[in-house]
């Protein structure tokens, strides 16, 4: 019998990504599983770091600022009424989103990943966002992907 005890919900806080939240919550409630909300902070890649140093204090500071914002967003999400009654924890990691999601799943014995098919880019012409596609291919566990209800696939 399939039993989910730890469900991972990766999010970039976009509307596209958060559409999967209710599905993750439903599964957690049904299986009495805990929910881990993960946000991956992408590395800030600038074409010419020396040139950009003049504009920003330092890349580290930008990264720190992004992480602080992510912590605030995770705290808000944790209190979301849709997650009432579920054991929720949050985490942040740094790197390439698909790789960090897969790595996190491998290292934390995740039973199921629930995520949006698209992230913040929300490209309408692609059936599957690149992060979701790579997670589906490389995850060690089942992955449930959820499409935004307004998202339609149109042939390019």
């Amino acid at each position: 019998m399939v039993k989910y005890t730890a469900v991972l919900f990766p999010t970039d806080f976009s509307e596209f990504s958060n559409v999967a939240l209710v599905h993750a919550a439903y599964i957690c409630r049904s299986c009495n599983a805990r929910l881990i909300v993960l946000h991956v902070v992408e590395e800030v890649l600038l074409p010419d770091p020396i040139e950009y140093m003049g504009v920003y204090e330092s890349i580290n500071e930008i990264q720190k600022h992004i992480e602080e914002e992510a912590k605030k967003n995770l705290a808000i999400l944790k209190k979301d009424s849709r997650l009432a009654g579920i054991e929720v924890s949050t985490d942040i990691s740094n790197g390439k989103p698909f790789l960090e999601i897969v790595k996190y799943s491998r290292e934390n014995k995740i039973d199921l990943i629930v995520m949006g098919t698209h992230g913040s880019s929300g490209l309408n012409h692609v059936l599957f966002g690149s992060t979701a596609e790579k997670v589906v291919r490389k995850a060690p566990c089942p992955v449930l992907t959820v499409k935004h209800p307004d998202h339609s696939f149109s042939m390019p």
Partner: protein, 140 residues
């Protein structure tokens, strides 16, 4: 020494590996990935190995173990930003692999193409005469 032959396929990377035994087959699987991804595969043997990674897997069957092994290599290539081109196998049974893979940083190698994953489509592993033959389709 495994022999790797690329088979006709309209979109993906389809290979036949003919090996002396099961260990040789897994080496061939690793080589088939390298042959597709690296531009000048012949130069790899002159590289000094700088990265080694344990590779311990279990599965229900040799077919599943083989596909899991290939996908583990592809995952480790992403995770470690590396190219793996050598392997030492400590133990291999029909459903268990205990090995170490060896390679170098991707930044030192001319990467030509990328493989998304190894698939079960048209997968076959069989003993033909005294050789072990596998056909495997990679999604690229």
């Amino acid at each position: 020494m495994p022999v790797i032959e690329q088979l006709e396929h309209s979109a993906d990377y389809y290979v036949r590996i003919v090996a002396d035994d099961a260990e040789d087959l897994f080496k061939g699987g690793l080589m088939s990935i390298v042959m597709y991804c690296v531009a000048d595969v012949d130069t790899l043997q002159s590289y000094n190995i700088t990265i080694s990674e344990p590779c311990k897997l279990s599965a229900e069957s040799i077919e599943e173990l083989f596909v899991r092994f290939l996908n583990e290599i592809l995952y480790k290539m992403d995770e470690k930003n590396a190219v793996f081109f050598d392997i030492s196998i400590n133990r291999l049974t029909g459903n268990l692999l205990d090995a170490t893979i060896y390679g170098v940083s991707r930044s030192t190698v001319d990467m030509e193409r990328e493989i998304k994953s190894a698939t079960y489509h048209n997968l076959a592993i069989e003993q033909v005469m005294k050789k072990v033959t596998a056909t495997v389709l990679f999604d690229v």
